[in-house]
Symmetry: C2
């Protein structure tokens, strides 16, 4: 089944306790596309870059089966750039530089070949852009998932609330869920957020795993305990990409299959944090991914055959 | 199989965002004994109280099958008292009052009927007391598990290191694991701590679940997502009590059975936080506990039958 991803394709500069990078390739769209590419031969991206964006990186995405027809290259303009520094425990980060550049007036164009897509992943962008993509699709996809962040809750809550009514699933982190719902308890937050629109909610808790809510069902997947988290940048997008790639490739949105998607996404995220940027994600093998998924099975599997 | 628990039987006064209590019954030994009582008809406690400790509470423990022969009542002395206040998010707490009283010179006495016990749970007490209990047992139990806290790492690290060499399993929280190992990564911390002695290590992460390490095996159990955490006091002890009660009652210390024990302990802890103090733990039914364990199965169960 076809997957369309909307998201930034960008430059990042990252500093962690383990080192720092020059300008490297980043952006939610890039991370989502790389991650989902391991589950699908073909997919589609909607994004915008400046003419400073390296052709080789676009070739790498093409090699992974990513259709770039919907990626606009703006002559004479610069690509979105973000720079951030992580704290020693990696649990917080400060944005040092945010240059919107081409993202400031991003007007998403949907190529005819993308129409009729069954799965839509709206990466973290302004809710206005996210809404425009939904409006410009001739048919409603089978599953629309969306990410967002605190920033949009601060400056564009009205648009965000409109977007929430149009989607099936919201994928955000615990801090964002708390801000959006004004509830500390994630169970209460989940209830309130689903009343705002999305039937499905994923709350990512970083190193503490992820929760999936739907109706009265809750599923929890841990993060893989790792010796070192080298660079958490993009892990949430990689999670979403693995999840959506898995769902689209299996074309099954039952709760049971969504659980498997959560595990697939968690496995992909565990690779992402092992190196700076997209490095680790560019060259994984299917057997590495299958082994990693088996680690999640081993980590969580128990058989409660004894009664109390 | 027989279980001996050493731990404080005490008074607590607790303040949470949901309310505050007068002096109520608390103490690691009390929580462990109540929790394990649901898995075993009979067990044994080693502890000390003053003559101010209410007889009714001792009767409640006796009713749960707890043998109090090893509980010393010191005439003319007062019971250990702790008072604490939780932050709004319940993730931190300040100790307001700590009166050691009878605990200051606690010299554990082991009744003859406790000798030959197969399972020993050393609740959080000074490492010297914990070591004395081990020394005073004629035969080494099949499994010795121990809790400790930052306080002992600050003031009695030498004794603590001696105790670590004598035990099979350490059960501590993430903060304690980080302090004991001087490692932030829990995977690295687990490696270092197991080099100090215990073959098995449980790291409790509060609302984020618990990890069990042994050899190259790791098991993770989440905490149950709850609408409200009313009072976290004792949850770690209740977890340990449920775990040890389960192991002792099934008399199986294989890794597979320890996983089940972790789930049993997690289920018991999820009850503990729903009310102040021991209230919820005093009157659970087996079917409530079985239902709660099933919630953990539902929360974590997935079947990864599709390949990538």
């Amino acid at each position: 089944m076809s997957l369309v991803t909307v998201g930034s394709v960008a430059f990042d500069a990252i500093e962690t306790p383990f080192g720092k990078t020059d300008k490297i390739i980043g952006g939610a769209g890039t991370y989502i596309a790389f991650s989902s590419s391991y589950f699908m031969d073909k997919q589609n991206i909607i994004a915008v870059v400046g003419d400073d964006f390296p052709k080789e990186m676009l070739d790498k995405l093409r090699d992974k089966g990513v259709n770039l027809e919907g990626l606009q290259v703006k002559e004479g303009e610069k690509t979105f750039f973000w720079s951030g520094k992580y704290s020693n425990d990696m649990n917080t980060r400060d944005s040092l530089v945010t240059e919107l550049n081409v993202l400031e007036h991003f007007d998403p164009v949907i190529p005819a070949s993308y129409q009729g897509c069954e799965y839509l992943m709206l990466g973290n962008l302004s809710p206005e852009v996210q809404l425009n993509v939904i409006k410009r699709l001739d048919e409603r996809p089978k599953l629309i998932a969306m990410d967002t962040m605190n920033f949009w809750m601060d400056i564009a809550m009205d648009d965000l609330k409109k977007a929430l009514k149009e989607i099936d699933m919201l994928i955000i982190n615990d801090e964002e869920a708390r801000q959006l719902s004004d509830e500390y308890s994630l169970v209460k937050a989940a209830k309130k957020i689903r009343e705002m629109g999305p039937k499905y909610l994923v709350i990512k808790k970083g190193e503490h795993g992820a929760l999936l809510f739907h109706g009265d069902d809750v599923f929890f997947a841990p993060a893989l305990p790792l010796e070192d988290v080298f660079d958490p940048t993009g892990a949430g997008d990689v999670f979403a990409g693995g999840f959506m790639g898995y769902l689209a490739s299996t074309d099954d949105i039952s709760f049971e299959n969504m659980k498997r998607g959560i595990i697939a996404g968690s496995a992909m995220a565990s690779f992402c944090v092992e190196k700076f940027g997209t490095e680790k994600l560019e060259a994984l093998t299917k057997s590495e991914i299958e082994d990693r998924i088996q680690k999640f099975v081993q980590l969580t599997d128990f058989d409660m055959n004894h009664s109390v």
